[in-house]
C-alpha cells in the first residue's frame, strides 16, 4: 500500500512539474504586462516534441542519445525521495539528501558530456559554464543542507521534515541562513535569472541552452521535462523543509487531500516569488555569478556556524 502510494506520489511529482513551469511563465507574463500563454502550454510543447522526429548530429556518439534518458531518470529518482504530499513513505529510505544532490550531479555530468559530444563551440561553452556554476553551487547547497540536517540530526528528508513538524514553530538562526542560501542555490542551479536566462538563445549569455542546442524531438522533450522537474524539486525542498505544515503525516484520504492542497498553495506562492524576482532583477555577468554563489556559500557556512555557536547544546 505504502509502496503504491510512493509510486503514485512520484508520478504526481513528474506530472505536476510542467504545470509549475507554466504557472511561473504565466505569472511572469502578467507581471510584465504581457498576454500569458495557457497554463498547460508546457504540456502541449512536450507532447509536440515527443511526436517529432529527432534529428541528431552525425558526430554524436551514444553518450548524446542516451543522456536524455539518464538525465530524466535521475530526476525521477530524485523526485521519488522528496516527500511531496506525505512523509514516511518507503521510498524515502532509499536515499537521503546527500544522495539527492548526487542525483543532480549525475544528471549534470551527462548533460555536460552531451554538450561536449557534438564538438561545437556552443556545447563546450555551455558545459564549461554549467560545471563552473554547479561546482560552486553544489557545496553551497550542501552547506545549507548541513545546517539543516545538523539541527534535525538526520539526513533523511522524511525524518527531517518530521523533526521540523514535531518541533513546532521555533526561530532558528541556522534555518534562516539555510533558507536564504538554498534559495540562492536553487536560482543558480535551475538556471533562472539572474544566473541564466531560460528564455534566451543569445550566445554570450546562455548556459543551459547552449548545452542542449543540438537536441530535438523526444530527446529535447526529456531534457526540458527534466529541468522542469528540477525546478519543482528545489521548490518542494524549500517549501516542505522550511514550511512543512500541511503535509500528510498519516496515510488517510483526508490528510492526503490536505497535503496536496498545501503543497500546491506553497509552490504557487514560491512561483510568484520567483516570477517577481525574475521581473525585478537583470541577468548578471558570468563572473558575477561567482560572487552570487560565494554569498550563498557564506550564508550556508554562517548557518552551520550559527547552529554550532548559537544553538549549541553546550
Amino acid at each position: 500500500m505504502n509502496w503504491l502510494l510512493a509510486v503514485l506520489q512520484t508520478v504526481l511529482f513528474v506530472a505536476l512539474a510542467p504545470l509549475l513551469a507554466g504557472w511561473i511563465k504565466w505569472c511572469k507574463c502578467r507581471l510584465q504586462n504581457r498576454k500569458a500563454p495557457s497554463l498547460f502550454q508546457p504540456y502541449r510543447d512536450l507532447l509536440k516534441l515527443t511526436r517529432k522526429q529527432p534529428v541528431v548530429s552525425d558526430q554524436a556518439s551514444w553518450i548524446f542519445t542516451t543522456s536524455p534518458y539518464i538525465i530524466f531518470s535521475a530526476m525521477v529518482l530524485a523526485a521519488s525521495i522528496v516527500p511531496l504530499v506525505a512523509v514516511d513513505l518507503p521510498t524515502s529510505a532509499n536515499a537521503d539528501v546527500i544522495v539527492l544532490i548526487g542525483f543532480f550531479s549525475f544528471a549534470r555530468f551527462f548533460l555536460a558530456l552531451a554538450g561536449l559530444d557534438i564538438g561545437t563551440a556552443f556545447g563546450g561553452m555551455g558545459s564549461s559554464r554549467e560545471m563552473t556554476i554547479s561546482s560552486m553551487a553544489e557545496p553551497a547547497m550542501l552547506m545549507g543542507i548541513f545546517a539543516l540536517t545538523m539541527s534535525a540530526s538526520t539526513t533523511n528528508l522524511s525524518f527531517a521534515i518530521d523533526f521540523v513538524l514535531n518541533e513546532g514553530l521555533v526561530l532558528r538562526p541556522s534555518f534562516i541562513f539555510a533558507l536564504l542560501s538554498l534559495m540562492l542555490v536553487a536560482i543558480a542551479e535551475t538556471g533562472r535569472i539572474p544566473v541564466d536566462n531560460p528564455a534566451t538563445h543569445l550566445e554570450l549569455t546562455m548556459i543551459h541552452e547552449a548545452m542542449i542546442l543540438e537536441y530535438s524531438g523526444r530527446h529535447l522533450a526529456l531534457i526540458e521535462w527534466a529541468s522542469q522537474l528540477k525546478l519543482m524539486l528545489y521548490g518542494v525542498l524549500i517549501a516542505n523543509i522550511f514550511f512543512p505544515w500541511g503535509i500528510a503525516e498519516r496515510i488517510t484520504v483526508e490528510a492526503l487531500k490536505y497535503g496536496l492542497l498545501a503543497i500546491v498553495v506553497k509552490l504557487a506562492l514560491l512561483a510568484v516569488l520567483l516570477a517577481l524576482s525574475e521581473t525585478l532583477f537583470a541577468k548578471m555577468r558570468l563572473f558575477r555569478v561567482q560572487e552570487f554563489l560565494s554569498f550563498a556559500y557564506l550564508l550556508g557556512l554562517l548557518g552551520m556556524l550559527s547552529h554550532i555557536i548559537l544553538e549549541g547544546a553546550r
Binding site: 518541533e167 526561530l171 541556522s174 560565494s294 557564506l298 554562517l302 555557536i309 548559537l310 549549541g312 547544546a313
Partner: protein, 225 residues
C-alpha cells in the same frame, strides 16, 4: 539545553544575533559605499528591533526609549548624513576593488569562531544564551575592525567604527538589558558628534589631499624613504 526548549524571547534574540552577524559580513564584502551605508542602516534597524523585543518581553520601559533612539540615530540620521556626504563628494560611483575578498571573508568566519572560543571560559558561569549572544557581539566588533583594515575609503572606516559601537550596544542589551539611561544617552550623543566631526574632517582631508583614500595619507609621513 537545546534551542527548542528556550522561550520565544531567547530564540528571537539568537536569530537577531545571527542576522546582526550576517550584516557585519555583508559590510565586510561590500565595495560600494552607498550599499555599505544601507547595510549599516539595516544593522541599526536590527539593533533597534532587538532592543524593542527585549523591552517588550522583559517589560523594561526605558529600553523602548533607547530602541527609538537607536532607530532615529543609527537607522535614519547617521546613514542619511553619510549618504549625503558620499553624494556630495561624488563618491557613490566609486567601486572599491577589494583585494583578496575571499581571504577577508574566511578571516571573518574564523574571527567568529575565535571570539566564541575566547569567550567560552569567561562566560562559563552565566547562561548559554548570553555566551552565544556575547560571542556574536564580540565578532561584530572584530569584524568592524577588519572592515577598517581591509577598506581604503575613509567613509568605510567610519562605518566600521560605528559597527564596532553597534557590537558593544548589542552586548549591552543582551547581557545587562541595556546600559543605564544616562550612559546610553551619552554614548548616543557621542556617536552623533563623532559622525558630525568625521564629516567635517572628511571635507578637510578632501580639500587638502584631494581624495578620501586613506592609503594616500601615507604621503604625510615625514620619514625619508
Amino acid at each position: 539545553m537545546n534551542i527548542e526548549q528556550l522561550d520565544f524571547y531567547t530564540q528571537a534574540v539568537l536569530s537577531l544575533a545571527a542576522l546582526v552577524g550576517l550584516t557585519s559580513f555583508l559590510m565586510l564584502g561590500q565595495g560600494r559605499l552607498l550599499r555599505l551605508i544601507f547595510v549599516f542602516a539595516v544593522q541599526g534597524f536590527l539593533l533597534a528591533l532587538t532592543t524593542a523585543v527585549a523591552a517588550y518581553s522583559l517589560n523594561i520601559h526605558h529600553l523602548y526609549i533607547s530602541a527609538v533612539l537607536t532607530l532615529v540615530l543609527k537607522v535614519i540620521v547617521i546613514p542619511w548624513m553619510l549618504r549625503r556626504l558620499v553624494l556630495q563628494m561624488n563618491m557613490h560611483r566609486d567601486v572599491e576593488a577589494l583585494k583578496n575578498n575571499s581571504a577577508v571573508m574566511l578571516g571573518g568566519a574564523s574571527l567568529m569562531v575565535f571570539s566564541y572560543y575566547i569567550l567560552h571560559p569567561i562566560v562559563q558561569t552565566s547562561s548559554i544564551v548570553m555566551l552565544n549572544a556575547l560571542a556574536v557581539s564580540l565578532s561584530v566588533m572584530l569584524l568592524g575592525m577588519l572592515l577598517m583594515i581591509s577598506h581604503r575609503q575613509a567613509v568605510a572606516h567610519v562605518v566600521g567604527f560605528m559597527s564596532i559601537e553597534n557590537g558593544l550596544f548589542f552586548a549591552a542589551i543582551v547581557a545587562t538589558h541595556g546600559m543605564p539611561m544616562v550612559v546610553e544617552l551619552g554614548v548616543a550623543f557621542d556617536v552623533l558628534v563623532a559622525a558630525v566631526l568625521f564629516g567635517i574632517f572628511f571635507f578637510h582631508i578632501r580639500t587638502s589631499i584631494d581624495s578620501l583614500d586613506v592609503d594616500l595619507l601615507n604621503r604625510l609621513s615625514e620619514v625619508d624613504k
